[in-house]
Amino acid sequence: MGVPPARRTSGMWGKALLRLVFALALPAVLVALWWAASAGSTNVYWPPLRTVFGVFPDVWTGERLRGDVLPSVLRLAAGYTAAAVAGVALGTVIGSWRRVRALCEPVLEFLRAVPPPVLVPVIMLFAGIGDTMKIAVIASGCVWPVLLNTVEGVRAVDPVLAETARSYGITGVARLRDVVLRSASPQIFAGLRQALSIGIILMVISEMFAAGNGLGFTIVQFQRGFAIPDMWTGILLLGLLGFLLSVLFGLAERRVLGWYHGLRASGRRSP
């Protein structure tokens, strides 16, 4: 029996469509509100949304995208990747040995408590005002959530699983790859997600301090030049960029943590 295939696929499409409608409903309402509320605005700092939309294509030309958005995104990618690699590697080391953990914990707590933007002037002293500085700022802010979550995840490996691995002689690299990191991956991903939003913030901030290009730099330039609608388009673009990255992150997470969501949904952990 069963539904004819044609209907089943149309049902699937229907569901996807419904999900899309749900995802876009609230943003659409908010944009509509903004549009309506700002429609008659004569305040220069708060131009009508129509004006902002109108200048958007003129501001974000292909050249700007290449000259300002791309460098920003590349620096974000470099800083974020460095933070992810360092955070997972250090976190694994710290989480695996109780001694190392006891030694590092107070320092980590302190460093984590320092707000990352404060580091910008300090890092500028060492790394100058070039790309290195910006990448270092992004990495130094992103590394903490990844590191601390990895430590927790690595510590929390189920002792039965650890013993199973040991009894089958799964040690060294295989243990790290197939047992420890996989087991910690839900926490690692939670850390990576936090790091992503921190990374975007730091990407902008580092460009506001000292830069010759980039999204944050451009927005500040518009603001200084009283090109207010242009500034607003930059903020919109930044929001869109954050949203896009978050969607991409969600896709990657779904792939890697499919088992985890299934396990939780099954609600049948251990006997």
């Binding site: 699983l161 013993e163 089958y168 799964i170 295989a174 197939d178 049948r268």
Partner: protein
């Protein structure tokens, strides 16, 4: 095959000192199926972990085929009490069974064959692509058994493997263990707190005392080799043996 000599294990830590195993001496011949029964908390898991090289004994020695055990030996496989937690939830059933084989550096072809064969013999040939948490408790325990089988151990250690499954499944799994033991000639050390299970499965039953543990009694099970749930359990000899073991376990609980 397996010799346990004067095994003594004391847990120390957090200001508490627990003598789990006082003095255990016994041996298991190659190809034998020995059941260990004892009251709950008497140190069965501790004993098995010492035998499997997962815990270092405080004193005494475990020898496998003459060689002292000082870490998990490659010829030994362990089936844990907490089966649900001993399968890797991020791997599919087939990968769970295959992982230890990768570590043994077997060729891909050989691994495939072993995995297929092991899953086939526990009746899970078509579950290779499922995740463990998609399976019932009894099926999960079968996967754990299949993983142990594929490892081709000389000695299989099983720690109350069926304590958490329903009676029906339990009977099936008991028959599975008997069948695999007969077919493959593996040496099996099977821990349980269920007296019927011990008598039904074992060639020999060791009754342990309450903690701190010693071997209280060794009993040869002279039931026919071919056992089945229906007839063996109503066999008068079965009843005698189980009464005997029962008395011993009761006495052990009273601590005499």
């Amino acid at each position: 095959m397996l010799d346990v000599q004067g095994l003594h294990k004391v847990y120390e830590g957090s200001g508490r000192r627990t003598e789990a195993v006082r003095d255990l001496t016994f041996s298991v011949a190659a190809g034998e199926l020995v059941c260990l029964v004892g009251p709950s908390g008497c140190g069965k898991t501790t004993l098995l972990k010492c035998v499997g090289g997962l815990l270092a004994p405080t004193a005494g020695e475990v020898r496998l085929a003459g060689r002292p055990v000082d870490g998990p030996p490659p010829g030994m496989a362990f089936v844990f009490q907490e089966y649900g937690r001993s399968l890797f939830p991020w791997m599919r059933v087939g990968q769970n069974v295959e992982l230890p084989l990768k570590q043994k550096r077997l060729s891909r072809q050989r691994r495939r064959a072993l995995v297929a064969d092991a899953l086939e013999s526990v009746g899970l040939a078509d579950a290779a692509g499922a995740y463990p948490w998609q399976l019932s408790g009894g099926m999960q325990q079968r996967v754990a058994i299949a993983r142990a089988l594929a490892y081709e151990p000389e000695v299989l250690l099983m720690d109350e493997p069926f304590a958490a499954v329903d009676a029906q499944t339990r009977a099936e799994l008991e028959d599975l263990v008997r069948r695999l033991w007969r077919e493959r000639g593996i040496t099996i050390l099977f821990v349980t707190h269920d007296i019927d299970e011990a008598v039904y499965l074992g060639e020999r039953v060791l009754v342990l005392s309450a903690s701190p543990t010693v071997v209280r009694e060794q009993l040869k099970v002279d039931l026919p080799d071919q056992r089945d749930q229906l007839h063996t359990r109503v066999n008068p000899r079965f009843a005698e043996l189980r009464t005997r073991v029962y008395e011993q376990v009761q006495a052990a609980k009273r601590g005499r």
